[in-house]
């Protein structure tokens, strides 16, 4: 779905959360909204979803203004930061909820739920309750549940924030691959620059309610590198404090690693993408990978 946002404004009391934000998202893209917490990213996401009403500005899906449409009619999947799984329902009931609401017939629902549990690797967990699942599994349920009613746009609010660092990498590449395979337009919010660079096709930096920068992950990476060098851009999280930075440098040393190999993540992802692109007939044209391996090798 093509998404366009024009002159979006939102204030809470006297606090202006979003100031005159404009952007557009091409069909099939995966966009990362990056910025410090309290910067207005989540407000933008919630306005897109219809959970919050903008003070002014237009939200346009497919050339149609949707400002007055309630969330129920926007055809959006939303993955909440804490997943908001229905705690009194099992995994399969959670996934089936949206389909039951849409009055699908029982057999079709059963099929769809089976497909999704298969796709998200939740097979065997169908009758568990959310409190019986690990963080990563819960995220997969939230993802499957959001995808079930076949939304045209997927919104993810800090999808990895509630997961421990160990499996976060794994999930990032899993999600990236999943979205690639489905070719669904997606927007996710994060305060972690590494995460944005790793997962997104395009990154928008939101700070103090403004859209400050927009660019490919590589551009954002370079710019922030320069900025850090010059001691500018205090709004961007300091890249050096994240392990990701050193990982980027280490990427050259392929094969020299024990245990989880961060470079491997990139490698798998690149391959995954090639596969995904090949699988999709008439799939969207992909930009070159932001960190081609050769470049990494040179840096190392």
């Amino acid at each position: 779905m093509h998404v366009e946002v024009r002159g979006l404004n939102k204030t809470f009391g006297s606090f202006q959360a979003v100031k005159d934000v404009d952007f557009s998202v091409e069909k099939g893209q995966l966009i990362g909204l990056l910025g410090p917490s309290g910067g207005g990213k989540t407000s933008i996401l919630r306005m897109l979803a219809g959970l919050e009403t903008p003070d002014s500005g237009d939200i346009v899906f497919h050339g149609q203004r949707v400002n007055d449409l309630p969330p129920q009619e926007r055809g959006i999947g939303f993955v909440f930061q804490n997943y908001a799984l229905f705690k009194h329902m099992t995994v399969s009931e959670n996934i089936a909820f949206g389909l039951e609401v849409k009055k699908w017939n029982k057999a079709k629902i059963k099929d769809r739920v089976a497909n999704l549990t298969e796709l998200t690797g939740l097979k065997g967990f169908e009758s568990r309750y959310p409190h019986q699942l690990s963080g990563g599994q819960r995220q997969r349920v939230a993802f499957a549940r959001a995808l079930a009613p076949e939304p045209q746009l997927l919104l993810l609010d800090e999808p990895f924030a509630a997961i421990d660092a160990k499996i976060r990498h794994e999930l990032r590449s899993w999600l990236r691959e999943m979205i690639d395979r489905l070719g669904i337009t997606s927007i996710f919010v994060t305060h972690d620059q590494d995460e944005a660079i790793e997962v997104a096709d395009e990154i928008m930096i939101i700070n103090k309610g403004n859209l400050e920068q927009k660019g490919s992950p590589w551009e954002i990476y370079q710019r922030s590198e320069d900025a850090v060098r010059r001691g500018l851009y205090r709004g961007i999280p300091d890249r050096r404090q994240h392990r990701g930075a050193s990982r980027l440098r280490r990427c050259g040393r392929i094969g020299g690693h024990q245990g989880p190999d961060p470079a491997g993540v990139y490698r798998d992802r690149t391959q995954g993408r090639v596969h995904a692109a090949a699988l999709r007939d008439g799939g969207r044209p992909r930009q070159p990978h932001p960190f081609p391996r050769q470049r990494m090798a040179r840096r190392g």
């Binding site: 959970l51 309630p70 549940r145």
Partner: protein, 537 residues
């Protein structure tokens, strides 16, 4: 789009109905009583209040309420501490017994104390030997007040203690603080908001208490006549202006307390002597709660089984129990539905302004703080035969006051906050995300409520319903004022107990009281069960 319009109409309908209910049931009566008492000008109001007996009764009430609150704050804090910190056999039993005074009808409580402290009882004769009398004197009133307000401090302090991490205490020890120092510097400050808000609620309840006090106080004007009984007397002797004036005084005091409690609650967020203590707590429970209960069982069978069955099978007793049942059913139904909806609106709705929500939030608690007698008086003033609305309804052939509708209305008023206070915290705790998630998947308000919200709040609603039933069964003051206590017509079980005691027919009183007490204990058991279910979800 038609779908949307329809749902909008529906939500408008729901909103205005609930708001109207709130205004009619809570706001109108309160406004009415202020208007009534000031209708004769401020001078008349002042005269009514400063009348010697009125003034004395207010002073006496405040004094005794302060004494009982201080005792309860100390005992309650101790009991909460023991119940949270120590594990011992019978702990959960004691914990569920705490709610007993909430569940027991106040008239039954009064009767219990009457039997326990009377001149023929062990305690009564002991006191007499020492040259004092308890019953029909101030000590009896204090005992009644303590019993009725017993749960407040405990229930307010318990969650604070549970929240308090043992590591905070341990941190103090590692820094070299002694045990007592740790208690006073670390633990007590954490409990303080709970103690204060619990004590405040206990105090306002003690001020308002009628049922238990009227039976044990002796009601000697100027000496043991407390304010709520004074108000009742004024109503009985057809002096609504005098009753309203004293009511306004108590009401204003209660309102002030409520605001303070709300304030303290909001601040909260910013905020091998073992055996001896356990023994002491158990003893307090036994003396305060269990012994009186046993005494009433014994009292009912003073004249053997036949005395009990005769007391119960009187036509007026059967009719009274039937009335109580009808009221309980109607009130529970209405207040559950409106309570759930109002809590939803108070927690979730963004069409209500923040200020308005805060004001409503404070007012919701008012029926807890207002003496039931005042609640009844409000309805008499508003809908009685002398009022404009009452006269109009009377011409239409509908009697409200001194008839079933008025009694239902009075009980609705008194039980109004219960369901709301059970449901609101749960709604706040689970947050709105699960509901938003349902919206995102295409579910509208109705589906979202039944599929997502209801399963989350279900057990709290059940808990609230049980409390409401208990309160309906036990409601005395408000119903007594509104019903006129006409035998075989508007007499309920509790007012019958009152009448029997007044007629010195203690065995008959005991039989009815025992039925009520048994129902309360049963409800308490169901309450415990639903509480445990509540914790599962």
């Amino acid at each position: 789009m038609t779908n949307m319009l329809q749902s909008r109409w529906w939500s408008w309908g729901f909103r205005s109905t609930v708001m109207l209910y709130f205004i009619i049931l809570i706001v109108c009566p309160i406004a009415g009583i202020y208007v009534q008492s000031l209708s004769g000008g401020f001078q008349a109001f002042a005269d009514n209040v400063t009348e010697a007996l009125a003034w004395k009764s207010v002073i006496l009430t405040v004094k005794l309420a302060v004494i009982s609150t201080i005792i309860n704050a100390a005992v309650g804090t101790l009991a909460a501490w023991v119940l949270v910190r120590y594990r011992f056999p019978g702990r959960s039993l004691l914990n569920s017994l705490v709610d007993l005074p909430f569940a027991l009808p106040t008239a039954v409580i009064g009767l219990m104390i009457l039997l326990l402290l009377g001149p023929r009882s062990l305690i009564g004769s002991g006191a007499e030997a020492l040259g004092t009398t308890i019953l029909f004197h101030e000590p009896a009133i204090v005992v009644a007040m303590i019993f009725v307000t017993f749960p407040f401090v405990i229930r307010a302090v318990q969650p604070m203690l549970e929240e308090l991490d043992a590591s905070e205490e341990e941190a103090a020890y590692t820094m070299g603080a002694s045990k007592s120092r740790t208690f006073f510097r670390v633990i007590l400050p954490c409990m303080m908001p709970g103690i204060v808000s619990g004590a405040m609620l206990a105090f306002s309840r003690a001020l308002a208490e009628f049922g238990a006090v009227v039976l044990v106080a002796g009601n000697i004007p100027g000496r043991t006549l407390v304010a709520s009984v004074y108000i009742f007397g004024e109503i009985e002797s057809d002096n609504p202006a005098g009753a309203a004036a004293v009511s306004v005084l108590l009401l204003t005091l209660s309102l002030l307390i409520l605001w303070t409690v709300n304030f303290v609650r909001r601040r909260r967020g910013e905020l091998t002597i073992r055996r001896f203590w356990i023994g002491l707590t158990t003893l307090i429970f036994a003396v305060l709660l269990i012994v009186p209960l046993l005494r009433i069982v014994q009292g009912a069978f003073d004249d053997g089984w036949s005395g009990f069955s005769a007391g119960i099978s009187r036509p007026e007793a059967q009719h009274a129990l039937l009335m109580t049942g009808i009221i309980a059913v109607c009130v529970t139904l209405v207040n559950t539905i409106f309570g759930v909806m109002l809590s939803l609106y108070l927690v979730r709705a963004n069409w209500l302004g923040k200020r308005l929500k805060a004001v409503m939030n404070a007012i919701v608690d008012l029926p807890f703080a207002v003496s039931p007698v005042i609640g009844g008086l409000m309805i008499v003033l508003l809908l009685g035969p002398d009022s404009a609305v009452g006269a109009m309804l009377g011409r239409a052939g509908v009697d409200v006051v001194y008839a079933l509708p008025g009694m239902i209305l009075a009980t609705l008023f008194v039980t109004f906050p219960i369901v709301i206070r059970e449901v609101m915290p749960v709604l706040q705790e689970v947050g709105s995300q699960q509901e938003e998630a349902a919206h995102m998947m295409g579910a509208y308000a109705w589906t979202t409520f039944w599929r997502v919200t209801w399963p989350l709040i279900r057990w709290s609603v059940v808990y609230g319903v049980i409390l409401t039933v208990a309160r309906c069964l036990g409601e005395f003051g408000a119903v007594l004022v509104v019903s006129g206590n006409i035998i075989n017509k508007t007499q309920t079980a509790t007012t019958l107990v009152y009448q029997d005691v007044e007629n010195f027919d203690l065995t008959a009183a005991n039989s009815v009281a025992l039925v009520l007490a048994a129902a309360s204990v049963l409800l308490l058991l169901v309450m415990e069960w639903s509480k445990s279910r509540k914790e599962v979800h």
